[in-house]
């Protein structure tokens, strides 16, 4: 018969303690998110109105809305996506499906990891030197978005590469045995099966792009710009910089206004995230393995 010995009891108690301890730690993780969202909704929600979202700032930015900043952030994110997604996905396909495992590929991988570690302010200064001055785009949406795109490229590349490699090798082998070329295999079998992972990378990129301030403040975002941008070579206002400005730069700012701006910014990111997550779940549901 099995008897509980003192060692068994000790192990059981230990087990309980560890479970409770780790559970509490996980609970603490949720706390800051809950507090941030709670405070923002409590203090910022009264600011949100149709006028706040869809008109420009007035009276030295202490009144009116945030539409130019809102639209600016959407544009910056879209142009950055247009630049980084094709480039990042193409690079990841090459690295995962074509590149031989040699010193050259390994050094490219190392470069990507290092690129991911570069602080955003350094990307910002690179953007000023490269896009604003050298390529002559001036301070513009294009220069800011390209800076953001370079900053977020590693995220797209790594996420895409991981999800390509998660597609079982047997899928490819089966395809090749049917006489398909490498590209046909990628196009018809590998990519469709990897699309959820690629979307994850894009989600992460959107969130980071929308929230970044340093890379855009020297390359394309303005403190104040009364009209909406007309093209990618115009400057724009952006939500993240606007939040910085209204919370630290303007005297006699109504207290709730920065909370309103922060709430809109975070809602925008959460909304984009949930859209992408929903799409991901839908696509995953169709997966046959």
């Amino acid at each position: 018969m099995f008897e509980t010995t003192s060692i068994n009891k000790k192990n059981i108690t230990q087990q309980k303690l560890v479970r409770i301890g780790l559970g509490t730690m996980t609970g603490i993780l949720i706390l800051p998110v809950a507090l941030i969202l709670g405070t923002l909704i409590y203090k910022g929600a009264p600011m949100i109105s149709f006028e706040f979202l869809f008109t420009g700032p007035t009276k030295g930015m202490t009144a009116g809305g945030i539409f130019p900043a809102l639209l600016g952030t959407v544009l910056l994110v879209l142009v950055a996506l247009l630049a980084s997604v094709p480039l990042g996905v193409a690079a990841a396909i090459y690295l995962s499906e074509y590149a031989p495992d040699n010193w050259f590929t390994r050094s490219i991988n190392l470069a990507i990891i290092n690129l991911a570690g570069v602080p955003s302010i350094v990307h910002a200064l690179f953007g000023v030197g490269a896009f604003v001055i050298f390529f002559g785009f001036g301070t513009s949406i294009l220069a800011a978005s390209l800076t953001l795109a370079i900053m977020t490229l590693p995220v797209v590349i790594v996420a895409t590469r991981e999800s390509l490699q998660a597609v079982p090798m047997s899928f490819r082998e089966a395809c090749w045995n049917m006489g398909a070329t490498r590209w046909q295999t990628i196009r018809r079998v590998v990519l469709p099966n990897a699309v959820t992972g690629i979307l994850t990378g894009v989600i992460l990129e959107v969130s980071r792009t929308a929230g970044e301030t340093a890379p855009i403040m020297f390359t394309g975002a303005a403190f104040f710009l009364p009209l909406l941008p007309q093209g990618v070579l115009d400057q724009t206002m952006a939500l993240s910089l606007h939040l910085f400005v209204v919370s630290t730069q303007v005297p006699n700012m109504p207290e709730q206004l920065p909370f309103g701006v922060a709430l809109v910014l975070i809602s925008m990111v959460l909304l984009m995230n949930s859209l992408s997550i929903a799409l991901r779940m839908y696509l995953r549901g169709k997966k046959k393995w």
Binding site: G60, R187, F224, P226, Q230, P251
Partner: protein, 293 residues
């Protein structure tokens, strides 16, 4: 197997269409205006009000500090640089080497105010006392050295609040108060005029300096005398205009060459009574005598 990524081209087309949709419309001119943090809210107000004067001109305003603005003028990336200090010879030469020709415009005056916590009993301060607080080798470390006791300030140790070194306000303060000396080590260098005031407002031990326009209700602005025991003048628009305030300074805008066309029109409007009433409303002294009613 049907392709599951066929929606990608559609998404890309939709994005492109959205971007293209923002193009078109009437022709308009953009003036790039960057620099001084002291002036940034005035520049913003000018840009906002100029919409009604000439809707075809858009003024894009950015801050960053006087040094940032002048550097951008040197690089040729702005039309107008704002500065709360005069351009340095070194910068002027750099600009000329780059084919730029900075032209100085005085657009207003500021009484550089000293900020104290509301509970601080100190009512007046002299330039030499300020130099002792801020300057390298200065001997004033605690409020008791200045003969006051600040309630709520533990140990009476002065928290010295200053600005980052590309700030025009920082440069002006060093020239006007410290002379050739450098700042003391251990100052809190804030990144904006408002940051200085916000910190002083919350810190009983603190002293700071910023443009007069950043004054709020809950801080104290002591009067400033040239030497201890001398006439003490409170910072205000009037004392900045008549130059009786010891640390009043001109506020500048720099253009590349004499401004012409839409930049010229904008500069003229800023110097007109309409533009000058806006700077007055924002808390600085106008460059010319105006009657704003």
């Amino acid at each position: 197997m049907p392709s599951r990524i066929s929606y990608l081209p559609f998404a890309l087309t939709a994005m492109t269409a959205l971007l293209a949709g923002c193009g078109g419309g009437e022709q308009r001119q953009v003036i790039q205006n960057k620099g001084s943090d002291t002036l940034v809210n005035v520049a913003q107000a000018w840009a906002e009000n100029y919409q009604q004067v000439d809707p075809s001109v858009v003024v894009a305003v950015s801050g960053g500090g006087s040094g940032t603005g002048i550097a951008a003028l040197i690089n040729g990336t702005v039309d107008i640089a704002n500065a709360s200090r005069a351009i340095k010879d070194k910068e002027l030469k750099l600009a000329q080497d780059n084919g730029q020709e900075p032209v100085q415009h005085v657009v207003g005056f500021d009484a550089l105010a000293i900020f104290l916590h509301a509970d601080n009993p100190l009512d007046e301060i002299s330039i030499s006392q300020l130099a002792d607080i801020y300057g390298d080798g200065g001997t004033s470390l605690s409020w008791t050295d200045l003969g006051v006791e600040v309630p709520g300030c533990k140990d009476q140790e002065i928290v010295v609040v200053s600005r980052q070194n590309n700030s025009g306000t920082y440069a002006y303060f060093r020239d006007a108060v410290l002379g050739s000396r450098d700042f003391k080590l251990g100052t809190r260098d804030m990144h904006g005029s408002k940051d200085v005031v916000d910190l002083v407002e919350k810190t009983p031990c603190a002293i700071g300096y910023s443009g007069l326009a950043y004054a709020v209700d809950h801080v104290k602005l002591p009067c400033v005398s040239t030497e201890a025991g001398g006439a003490c003048v409170a910072p205000s628009v009037e004392t900045a205009i008549d130059n009786s305030y010891p640390i009043a300074r001109p506020l500048f805008m720099y253009t590349n060459g004499e401004p012409t066309g839409y930049v010229g029109d904008y500069m003229n409007w800023i110097k007109s009574s309409e533009g000058q009433c806006i700077i007055l409303e924002k808390g600085y002294a106008p460059a010319t005598t105006v009657n704003c009613g």
